[in-house]
Symmetry: C2
């Protein structure tokens, strides 16, 4: 099933069930008003949402309405835990082989909806996007193995991890991660259960290309599956090595990327990029100098993933950069 | 007023109002069941809690009962944002003068109650306590100045930031902060509004000594006030430089410490220590070698702060280290 949260003026919004084709929706009021409630009591509430989803997909839901992603908050508008990994090969911070996943905690008090304008104080901050996937978990016990941790995945979303690159060095130097340089995490309009992915869910990886458009031009089309070095079960198991992970935790992959491979004596570059910093690292490697600038006011970023049937799985993150 | 959360088998527990002397309590059911509700709607709900608090302190509350800190969850059992600063001088990571506060995000999905046993898989992990203070905020707008940010402080608590020191280097090396090495944040039994501190609340600092006992022996009695290099308004303002901070964010000071001062040709050391790592750093500085070991199973840690009247302000964090 597909779940979204509609704006209603409250912090947590109103939970809605969305049809598979993203055309119609239905308030989940009779079951639960907030997604966190459902995550807290998944085995009791999710079957009731599934019934509603089935009715909606079969055209039997009596109070359905046209689904409008512009009315969406993040499916989970705030979360008690957010961590982001670096699950894909990156020129930015090349990882040694055999090293476990690096997970950086973040702030969950205020996620952005898919079509919210991205407001920043200044273009000089080096505004960057970072297109990836995230799992939203149920309860996962301390010490869970990667396969056990995979059982704790309840929902998947697309994310845009916005970064202010000019503020990043300070956080890294202090060794404490990112606070000021990670102002916003943006979610796709809908979160989906794993069955929505069909055969594209490959034991912790999503075996589909991710598409990122910048000002209408396709800049990223990397495969999210085969090159995910640490799958979601591994990321979550890393997180719960020393403690339990509780329901509603958001575990992100970091920007999707594919490694370039050298063939026929000349480098073959990845299928585009899902963060400008990655593009700049490629440029530096090729020509010694980064030539692509960061986002400007008025720029648009669109992030979407289509299933094997060509239909949008999560709806699109579709944002414009705007001054504060 | 003083607020606590009683266990009731649910994730968020039941909000109670506690008397100033910590002797009696009263369910806040008629006003709100969860503390996050109150933080989300502070100006409407907190006056109602204040009325209940006044009645309780005057012996007029009709269904009051004896307050038992062992029945407490953390006052805020889970939070959408947790960051911890390093607000006090430390031998562990000496800071350059003039450098802004370093804030490390953490996980808010599962805080521990004041008397919960601290369960760890192994003593070899280097189990350490870290006694400090934290502010729980309301909404603070993006770009707030430190004085404006101070207006956003709703409640104060004592905290024990548990650390697994043997896992810390890996997180630092990756530059992403602490995930596995920071398994638990423990809260005092009650959270208090600033008026409970009287004259000891000094524009963002708490001008009182913090007391830490390890196995019944007082090991830390540092002043929490004068040497707090970045007060709570500064910490929160740093956090909301690039985005708004939303209600229920927990902003921690990090372990309280005082700088040692050299006098009469010999070093004068601080008033004890509030983390073992700090003690070990002192030993290393004095004799080239750390001699104090980390926590062992069966050890107890007690953290408390008393007001100028000699009464416990927050109740005591009082924990035993136990195998998983």
């Amino acid at each position: 099933m597909k779940l979204a949260t509609y704006q209603d003026g409250s912090r947590d919004g109103q939970l809605v069930v969305v049809s598979r084709d993203l055309a119609t929706a239905h308030y989940a009021t009779g079951v639960a008003s907030r997604l966190q409630q459902v995550l807290d009591d998944w085995s009791f509430l999710s079957p009731q949402l599934q019934d509603l989803s089935d009715a909606l997909n079969q055209g039997r839901a009596r109070h359905s309405f046209a689904f409008d992603p512009r009315q969406c908050l993040a499916p989970l508008p705030r979360a008690y835990q957010v961590v982001e990994g670096q699950a894909y090969p990156s020129l930015l911070q090349p990882r040694e082989a055999g090293v476990g996943p690096a997970l950086a905690p973040g702030s969950g008090d205020n996620f952005a909806g898919a079509c919210d304008p991205l407001r920043c104080a200044s273009e000089a901050l080096g505004i960057d996007f970072g297109a990836g996937l995230a799992a939203i978990t149920g309860d996962v016990p301390q010490g869970a193995t990667p396969p056990q941790a995979l059982d704790g995945v309840r929902l998947l979303v697309l994310t845009n991890s916005v970064r202010l690159r000019s503020l990043e060095a300070a956080g890294l130097a202090k060794g404490v991660g990112w606070v000021q340089s990670a102002p916003t995490l943006v979610f796709s309009p809908v979160a989906v259960t794993l069955d929505e992915l069909g055969a594209s869910w490959d034991k912790g990886r999503v075996d589909l290309p991710l598409h990122t458009h910048w000002n209408g031009r396709k800049v990223g089309m990397c495969d999210a599956g085969p090159e995910m070095q640490h799958h979601f079960g591994q990321l979550i198991a890393h997180l719960c090595a020393t403690r339990a992970v509780r329901a509603g935790s958001v575990v992100g992959s970091g920007p999707v990327a594919n490694a370039g491979t050298g063939t026929k004596g000349k480098a073959q570059w990845p299928k585009g990029y899902h963060s400008i910093a990655e593009k700049r690292a490629m440029e530096t490697q090729l020509s010694g100098q980064a030539s692509t600038g960061y986002l400007q006011f008025g720029d648009t970023v669109r992030i979407e993933m289509k299933g094997q049937d060509g239909l949008s799985l999560f709806g699109a993150i579709d944002q414009e950069i705007a001054p504060r």
